[in-house]
Amino acid sequence: MASSLKNPDRTGWAFALPGTVLILTFIVIPFFFAFALSMTNQRLISPNPTEYVGLKNYRDLLGLAVVTLEPERDDSGAVVIDDDGEIVYPRLRTITRSDDYPQYRGMREWFRWQSGEDARIVIASDVVFMKALVNTLLFVLVVAPVQGGLALVLALLINQRLRGINIFRTIYFMPVVVSIVVVSLLWRFIYDGSDGLLNNVLSWITFGAFQPVDWLGNTETALGAIMAMSIWQAVGFHMVIWLSGLQTISPTLYEAAAIEGASKWQTFRYVTWPGLRHTAVLVLIVITMQAFALFAQIDVMTSGGPLDSTQTVVFQAVERGYGKQDISGGSTISVILFVIVLTISLIQRYLTREK
């Protein structure tokens, strides 16, 4: 045994072995399982045999079509206008539930716009999944830059030699070590619509002028509320990564900049920021991946509601695969998510490559 460890190759493999086995067992192999299952009609539990269904699951999730609704006309052929001055259209179910259009059966309205007198409606096989996709992308687009930026600001603030700076470091890092489920439960109380902490504070500092908002019960504020809470919760983690990056920058560079008479901004722009390049790539990719995996907050705080305004891709995968016992559907969502995250990560790698 001792002699084999002298062989650097073998030693390397031996050290890599536990990690490789774990990654293979819990990530790589399950992924191939998911890919295979997404081509079948596998249920979580069922006495029926599993059948190969090809791309049906993908069609059921991603199917899109545009239909045109003509306005209702009265006997003289004039367009019917309702009390609000809007053109009246027949219900979409006259198409989606009609035997004349079997290809649209089971599809639902995603959004519509008006073109002339007609209404164009985008219908989707799975509107909830489409909304989940949009919400997740929105979440990533907001959280990645804001959380990364805020973490950098915090890292710069605590990267100073001040008395008691460790207290601040601890405070900023604390939310990271608390379970996300616990944090979500607490924020549910904070966001409470009638006597939550947030409403109370806002009404106190505005001397009662602020009208309480039902943060999680309102389609306009629910996703934003979850974004804010998620940013706050994980910002400390990325702050520590930034901090480690800051501390690798050689003090001599700062000394040189000071001798050259660089302003604070110039120091940051030409010394700190270039030195943080690799850290920035890492932070950006990590935040993006974590943001795509948004689940626990949704599960605890809103269950995807109200009106699907907080549905997310991973929540849908779990809801479908486990809640509705449709493992093949859940697997299909996972595969789609994998492709999206892989694509975005590759693009990020390409854009931030060493030129």
Partner: protein, 420 residues
Amino acid sequence: MRMMKLTAGALVAYAALGGTAAMAQTELTMWYHGAGNEVELTLINQLIDDFNASQSDWSVSIESFPQESYNDSVVAAALAGNLPDIIDVDGPVMPNWAWSGYMQPLTIDESLIEDFLPGTKGIWDGQLYSIGLWDAAVALVTRQSTLDALGLRTPTLEEPWNLEEFMAALEAAKASGDYEYAFDPGMAWTGEWYPYAFSPFLQSFGGDLVDRSTYQSADGVLNGEAAIAFGEWWQSLFAEGYAPGTSQDPADRDTGLIDGKYAFSWNGNWAALGALAAHEDTLFLPAPDFGNGSVIGAASWQFGISSTSEHPEGAAAFIEFALQDEYLAAFSNGIGLIPATPSAAAMTENYAEGGAMSVFFDLSAEQALVRPVTPGYVVAAKVFEKALADIANGADVIDTLDAAVDEIDADIESNSGYGH
């Protein structure tokens, strides 16, 4: 492979427990959902000790799970092939487990369960699979003083409120200005509460979760005229400010009626003891009749035998033993459940003639309707829950119900009709 695992499991269990159990007794294992409730644990342990001491053939050992993760544990154990001999199962879920092959028919002396409330018998495909020691019931909870102040008549089992009277009552409560909300349906309790508590409203309107004549489609029953009328009424409860919506604070759900925030609350017998302790004039009124009679949900947790049990006769012997009135009454007294038989009810404090909660026994006997008896219920329940939350939040009623129908029908189809 499965046999090997089972044998290995049995050996381990034997090795672990052999020291304490009498050698002549055959070991039986049991899983139960009630971990976390101390009173319930004491009761079930007492029942098992009594059974083990009463005969020399079998010895039951129990493992308790928290209710939230119990179903997941059973599903995972079934997939892995190591279910215990005796399981307890939530009534509406039983057909799914029976159809999936986790459970075997329960062969017990039929005369033992003649007097049992209908909701306690788990029957799938013409055979008894599970039996409950208790049932649960829901009532419209309010206070006599509330009815008096609002000048409302007291509805009875024979003459419940109809839709107009119910809405007039809510309007009166709202107009009085004394309450935050007139009616608390319990939107904070997500999960099985929605189909359990609210699908009876739909059924009272004349709709249902699925067409019970074939169990092959929800088309026409969940999006027919009656269902649309139900949906519009349901939406109006929230749109017109009679009821708190999906973001209701769970704490308000628990104590809102007691604290006087709500005039009426739709709540189960399990919360009745607390309400009575707070206000002596608490009333438990029958469900309103929305056109097709008053309906409340039936079926609670029940005992059954797993398909992999090697000693179904032993498991059946335990279940028969548990069906004695003495235990039915003990569970009722301990945790407020409705005992399954009239004779057991007579032995309890609260359900005996004139007891504080005897009204629940009558509600259960008169109005209870089991949720659709089909393996597909598990999915239909989830779809229904989402549809009701969406409608409460202002989604278009017809489109939402159509979508729910499509989802339920697609699920039935991809499960080849669920064996009906």
